[in-house]
Structure formats: structure tokens, C-alpha cells
């Protein structure tokens, strides 16, 4: 009897050593073991706080009538006024429409292109041909955006550009491509999103295709399936998870990365189709100093991007039971 009571008494303190205390002890152990590593983490985390998270505080200017002289602390809080100005303003519909259209065209044409390249390369038996094609298609990625745009501008020049020389030889009239809004999207997607990146992006898919179990192909060949049938029924379904992950990773970017190139390629006469939300942010914000409304536009862009990423992740889970999270 007495011993039982003592056992009960001695059990209680053990359970009261709560999760909290166990946690603290874990931390102490970790600090002791990894002292130096925690020290290393300090500059690392500081960088993120200083250059990634601290700027986020600046988002408050979307709700302010911001003046550079008054700074964030001194500028007047105006609630959603800037939002109303942006959504009701002259530029919202144009920039939103262009952002969506370029994004959708990019999805339809630029996203599948590297997949196609990887699939075609997979069918090539000749090692030398395959590696030559890979080497050559890979090259444009390493050339800077400025240089590629420089090449595009000069090739499309109405007076000395190769493209127009070629058009003239065929008997047609020269076209001043870069001043006409109807050509902009095509030029941008073809050069920046396809030509520049197709070889580089294809590598991820080539690696994925290489990872497919060869016995699947052997079995299919024995069943008499043609190479094309094998591509559709084995290769593509096998790399579908990779395709979905790439989709999720890229879909957020589709809205924003392009602006570095678009800024170099567009001009006032093509703003109608070329001006996207990010280029508007650059013009209104960094060039014209309308910091507050530009921040609203950027915020809107980021939110739309986030929605797309979440949507893509859901789609990926539905199609392949696999998502980024």
C-alpha cells in the first residue's frame, strides 16, 4: 500500500516536466552542440531581415499619401484611396489585361516548348547530334537580357535588320515591328520566353525522362506499341509530376520576371499591348515618383501571383497526387 502511494507520488513530477521544459532542454542541447553553426546563422538571418523582410514594412505606403520628404512616418494615412485610384484609373484595365494575356500566351506556347524539345531529343539515337543540339539551344540562356534585346532590336530594324531584308527579298514590304502594338506579344514570347530559355529549361525534363524505368518501354515494345504511343502512354505520364512542379514554380514568375525584358523592348507606341502591371510599377514608381500607387499595383500583382501558385498546387495535387506542399 505505502509503496503504491509512493509510486504514484513519484510519477506526478515526471509528467509535470512538461513539453515546454523538454523543449527548452532540446534548445539548450542544440545550442551546446552547434554553437558555431548558430553563430554562422546570424549573418544569414540578418541578411533576410534587412533585405527581404524589412522592405515589407514599406508596403504600408500603399495605404499612405506618400511623400519622399516626409518619409513613411510623416506621410498621411489615407486608407484605400490609392487602391481606388489604381483600380479606377486609366491604366488598370490595360495593364491587367496585358499581364493576363502575356501570361496565358506564355503558358500555352512557352511552357510546353521545353517539354517538346526534351521529348524530341529523347527520340534521337545519335549521341553527337543530340549533344550538339543541346549545346546550341542552351547558349541563348547565358547571354544577358540586354544583349538579346539588342540583337532583337537590330534584327527587326526596318532599315538594316536581317528580318526585314529577308521579307523584302520575298517580295513583301518592310515592317517596323517594334513600333506596332499587334506584334509585341508575339515578339516578346518568341524571343524572351521561348528562344532564350528553351534549351536551359529542357534540361530538367531531359533529366526526368532519363529517370523513367526502361523496363516499361521494353514491355510496351513487346506489346507492339509504336514509339509515339510509348511517348504518350509512358513518357509523358511518368514526367507529369515534374511538369506540374515546374508549372507551380513558374506560374508565379510568369507575371513578374518578364518586366526586365519588356522595359527594354517596349515604347510608348506599343504600351497598348506591352504595358504590364510590373512595367507600370516601374514607370509610375521608380521613374515618375508616384511611389504609393505603384506599390498598390505591385501588391495586386503579387496577390494574383499567389492565387495562381495556390491554384496550380491544387491542380497538381488533383492530377498527380503530388504538390509542392
Amino acid at each position: 500500500m505505502a509503496s503504491n502511494v509512493e509510486m504514484v507520488k513519484s510519477k506526478k513530477p515526471l509528467q509535470e516536466k512538461s513539453k515546454f521544459q523538454a523543449n527548452i532542454e532540446d534548445w539548450k542541447l542544440s545550442f551546446k552542440k552547434y554553437k558555431i553553426l548558430y553563430l554562422l546563422l546570424i549573418p544569414f538571418i540578418t541578411w533576410y531581415i534587412l533585405f527581404q523582410y524589412k522592405p515589407m514594412m514599406g508596403l504600408i505606403i500603399a495605404f499612405q499619401d506618400y511623400s519622399v520628404f516626409k518619409g513613411i512616418a510623416g506621410s498621411e494615412f489615407v486608407g484605400f484611396k490609392n487602391f481606388i485610384d489604381f483600380f479606377g484609373g486609366d491604366y488598370f484595365w490595360r495593364t491587367f489585361r496585358n499581364t493576363l494575356l502575356i501570361g496565358i500566351y506564355g503558358l500555352i506556347f512557352a511552357f510546353p516548348a521545353p517539354i517538346l524539345l526534351a521529348l524530341l531529343l529523347n527520340e534521337v539515337k545519335n549521341k553527337y547530334f543530340r549533344s550538339t543540339v543541346q549545346t546550341l539551344t542552351y547558349l541563348p540562356y547565358f547571354v544577358s537580357t540586354v544583349v538579346v534585346v539588342g540583337i532583337v532590336i537590330n534584327f527587326l530594324s526596318p532599315s538594316t535588320g536581317v528580318v526585314n531584308m529577308f521579307i523584302e527579298k520575298l517580295g513583301f514590304e518592310r515592317i517596323y515591328f517594334l513600333t506596332q502594338p499587334e506584334y509585341f506579344r508575339t515578339i516578346y514570347i518568341l524571343t524572351m520566353e521561348i528562344w532564350k530559355t528553351i534549351g536551359y529549361t529542357a534540361i530538367v525534363y531531359i533529366a526526368a525522362i532519363a529517370g523513367v524505368n526502361p523496363s516499361l518501354y521494353e514491355a510496351a515494345t513487346m506489346d507492339g506499341a509504336s514509339r509515339i504511343k510509348q511517348m504518350f502512354h509512358i513518357t509523358i505520364p511518368s514526367i507529369l509530376p515534374t511538369i506540374m512542379i515546374m508549372l507551380i514554380l513558374n506560374i508565379g514568375n510568369i507575371l513578374s520576371v518578364g518586366y526586365e525584358a519588356i522595359i527594354l523592348l517596349y515604347q510608348p507606341s506599343t504600351y497598348e499591348t506591352a504595358d504590364v502591371i510590373s512595367t507600370y510599377v516601374y514607370r509610375a514608381g521608380l521613374q515618375n515618383g508616384q511611389y504609393d500607387i505603384a506599390t498598390v499595383a505591385d501588391l495586386f500583382n503579387a496577390v494574383v501571383g499567389l492565387i495562381l501558385v495556390l491554384g496550380a498546387n491544387k491542380l497538381s495535387k488533383k492530377l498527380t497526387n503530388n504538390g509542392l506542399w
Partner: protein, 278 residues
Amino acid sequence: MTTNYILLGILAILCFYPFVYVFSASFSSGKAIAEGSVWLWPVDFNIESYKQVFTHPGIWIAFGNTIFYTVVGVAVSLFFTICGAYPLSKRDLKGKGFIAFFIALTMWFNAGMVPTYLNFVGLNLLDTRTGIIMGFALSTFNVFILRTFFQSLPESLEESAKMDGANDWQILWKIILPLTKPALITIGLFYGVSRWNGYFWAMVLLKDENKIPLQVLLQKLIIEMNIEQQFSIVNAGIYSQETIIYATIIFSTLPIVILYPFLQKHFKKGAVVGSIKE
């Protein structure tokens, strides 16, 4: 099957031909370009355009700046990346999950153009080389790639070193880093290409003409086309606006092309790891 070869062949040519043209055109006369006689080989071979480019003072300053930003930038980036990737690769480091989430968030959501710019202003880093080097030191993507490499090293390596009395610092320097050299080279190249080609924030943040890198100078020349102000187009037949632009393009792209086989090998490795890392 042959259609496959033809399609791929056309694509490869399309990817390569522009460079062939630019190369040949840079050695041709302005007159020949205007007449459309240049297709594959230089016409009226001359190196006048290059002479013009090499004697432009701004070019060498910009070139020097690019080298500075690239070399110092990669060193700084590697330092910070190792500082993050190595601790995060330890399985029982308390807090690693939270930190990983903390930095992963920045891959999808960042403050945006204007707040980022104002942040630089607030930190007094506007128009400074330090701003360019420090402000863009880390790529979260690269941190995760390096972390994966560190994770692939066997734990027994460290354990035996610790038993021999080594502390974490010595382990990192003498054992781990030498073993991950290929990964470090790959990540270094990722950062390097990004630095060499980077133009947007350099353009936005730098006002002093002595601090701008090559790509920003190119942007002024090629896009803003103020060639006439910068070069004296006296002899318009031998060289022209176009030939000078093409020569400048070759000049700024040559280092990349020379390093290309090297870059290709390591980028392929990196892309494979990056895609399988999950």
C-alpha cells in the same frame, strides 16, 4: 524520325545563327550591313568597329565594374549561402524548420519594386557598390540546392572528426568544404552568371557613371541608342551604329562564350539536383 532531326536541326540553327550573324556583322563595314549583303560571312572585313569600342573610355570602366561585381559578389554570396545551407543541413539543429520556412517564403512573396528601392534609400545604399554587392547576395533557391548537397554527406564523417577533437569550424573548413567543391563551383557559377548579366537593379540604384557595370552601359548604348553622343561616327561607311553595337555585343558576351563548355557542364548538374531535390 527524319522530321525529328529536321525540326531539331532548325531549332539548333535558329538558336545559333543570330550569334553567327552578329559576329560576322561586327567585322563588316557599315555600308555592307545597310545594303544587306551580310548573311553568314563578314563583308568588307575590318576591325574599325572594335577599335571604336576599345577606345571608348567608359567601356573599360564598366568592364572593370562588372568584373568587380561578379568576383566580389560571388565570394560574398558563397559566404552567406554556406552560412545558411550548412547549419540548415544538420538534422537535429533546433529551429532549422522554422528558418527554412522563413526563407522559403521569400521565394514567392517579396516586398515589391518600390519598397525594395526605398529600403536601399533608407539604408543609405543608393548609388553605392556595397548596395549592389550586399543587396543581392542571396538566392534562396541556391541555399536549398547547397543544403541538399550538404545533406548528402555521411554523418559518420563528422562524428569521427568530432571524436578526434575537431570543433565545428575546423570540420567545416577542413573536411566538408573540400568535399563539396563541385557543388560550390556549381552554385558559384549560378551566382556568377546572374551577376555578370544583371542589369535592372544596377540601372535603378546606380547614378554615378563610374560605378555602372557593362550591361547597364550596353543598355544605354543599344536601347537608348545614344551612340552618336558616345562615338564620333565620322567615317560612316567603314563602321556604323549597327557595327559598333554588334562589336559591343561580342565584347560583352565573349567571356561567357569562352567559359561556355565549363558553364554547361556544371549547370546541367545543378539543374538535375535542383529538380530532384524534393
